[in-house]
Subunit: 344 residues, 2 copies
């Protein structure tokens, strides 16, 4: 089969790799219908997260089950499925509590020993605990929206849930990537009355507004904090979503939150200065987040997508064939695209 690989930093090569085979009776093979490139895929692409030459790429995909092991109970060949960005056994204590990202047997696509989502087929460990199957094949037009459930929409939802967003909330969203934009949508979906999005890019501002942002602050860092304070009676917002992961973004989030408020953080932290801990303490803030519990949230979000009440598909602004994956990475790296959809 064909799959995207990273031969060296900034060199994405779509090449022939071995077809996957079932590794055990609880596994499944999925033929990928659509995959995409994540902001976090840019860390290895840029060489910041070292990888072995030839590393597979991608952790977001939807597709059709082609083969299941003898122990698979909930899925069958021919069924359409959405895959979370990590697999989970569905039976360990963490999974039973809904913390599927912290599964005792968790792992993620595109790591050594596993297939990446950006390929024609994927071998799925713990298929029952991982994949969510649909009763029937979805309308092709729903494909982009369904694909966001694999990571970015579920992650935006996790940020909003972690920040305690509820009906009537005032929310600030730090980050205008696909996750931040989905965070806006998630906050509104949970009933937020007012969502202040931070973005300096007109195209992303437009998506934020389409997703329900009531105000857009075209600034970052201290300027953004000052603008948020100005918009919130000098106090900051009770709920802040941090969807970037840098030191600056986390500081912006913390100082945009009102005393006693909550910060939901889902950007993989690249934080170097521990003063953020002191700031959380002195501002009486809560911090919660981490990798999204995608498998737990999927049924609920999927139902809304299928019902037509949730549509995050606008985060995709470029669609390419899998063979052009290198161009997709370049477009995201250069911020020419928010998020790229790939079709094998």
């Amino acid at each position: 089969m064909r799959a995207a690989t990273l031969t060296s930093p900034r060199n994405v090569l779509v090449t022939d790799v071995a077809d996957p085979v079932l590794g055990g009776p609880g596994e499944a093979i999925v033929e990928v219908v659509a995959a995409c490139i994540c902001g976090s895929d840019l860390w290895p692409y840029r060489g910041i997260h070292p990888t072995a030459p030839g590393q597979r790429l991608g952790h977001e995909f939807v597709g059709i089950v082609r083969e299941v092991g003898a122990d698979v109970r909930t899925l069958s060949a021919g069924q359409f499925v959405v895959a979370p960005f990590s697999w989970s056994d569905g039976t360990c204590p963490a999974c039973l509590e809904g913390v599927t990202v912290g599964c005792d047997n968790a792992g993620s696509w595109g790591q050594p020993g596993s297939d990446g989502g950006q390929g024609q087929f994927v071998r799925v460990p713990f298929a029952d605990g991982t994949l969510v199957g649909l009763d029937e094949h979805p309308d092709p037009g729903l494909m982009p929206a369904l694909l966001t459930l694999s990571d970015v929409m579920a992650t935006g939802h996790h940020a909003a849930v972690s920040a305690g967003v509820r009906p009537g909330s005032t929310v600030v969203v730090v980050g205008d990537g696909a996750v931040g934009l989905c965070g806006v949508l998630a906050a509104r979906r949970l009933g937020a009355e007012r969502v202040i999005a931070l973005s300096s890019y007109p195209q992303r501002q437009a998506i934020a507004r389409a997703f329900g942002a009531s105000e857009v602050v075209a600034a970052r860092g201290r300027e953004a904090v000052a603008a948020v304070r100005e918009l919130t009676g000098g106090r900051g917002a009770p709920h802040v979503l941090e969807c970037v992961g840098t030191q600056e973004a986390l500081e912006t989030a913390i100082h945009s939150a009102r005393r006693g408020g909550s910060v939901g953080f889902v950007g993989v932290p690249h934080v170097t200065d521990a003063k953020v801990v002191t700031a959380l303490f002195s501002r009486s803030l809560g911090l919660r987040g981490g990798g999204a519990w995608v498998r737990t949230y999927l049924p609920e979000l999927l139902a809304d997508v299928l019902a037509g009440t949730l549509d995050p598909s606008a985060v995709f602004d470029l669609e390419l064939p899998l063979e052009a994956a290198a161009e997709g990475y370049a477009a995201m790296d250069e911020r020419r695209a928010v998020k790229v959809l790939l079709r094998p």
Copy 2:
């Protein structure tokens, strides 16, 4: 009047200072009946937090109102009061939300321009928003228990509330100072079924057990984490109280918590390595805490002390006259005493 002052690191001098006078119509003068020394008083004592020579000391006290300004509505001369470790106006948005430590006009005793708790009298700004008065003078035997409400018991309660402790919870408490010990008591009071206390000192272990600890781990750092994991099916506890503030203590707390759990942190953070943020992220943990919202919790905790159902007084193991404050500091510095009560 007489008051404890810090002339230089490790030199506590009880000396004559000016009698306080009302600074405005909302203020009160309180005659101190009992005060105490806090673990956090040791930071300036040890010279780690620089202070001006002659700085007043102490932020915990109970006493009798001697004078009130014309605008004071809820208190009158002769009334017995408990003072939180910081004052609060009671009217700003933060106070109205219960985040009294984050009051727009917050300040704490013993800072430049204010009296310390370790003295004969204290001028209290925002008396209505700060002090909690009792209907009648309490039994003298209740004095130590009432005094803990000024800080350590309220702070232990804040740690437990911030960690989401509820009936049936399993809880780990990191720190065997007065706050950690009160954290054990607070967790049990909130219904925790199982409280694992970390302490290597037999005397403190005994207090922890008397306060309701079901298990004591006589280790710290990685060894403590391993022991906690062993006691919790390899997973860690869903609720952890961090009552120290050092890098090691916060790391111990984070790695003692199970994935998806909550850490309540009330030890003033002296954290230098931002890897704790990554650990919170990768373990899906919540972190919340900061200075306790003492004024908010006081009525509830006070009712229990007066009813005889809450008695944290065992944290005091040394009582001295105010004039011997220097000996009290030395005893706490050398860990000869858990907490020292001072009587003017």
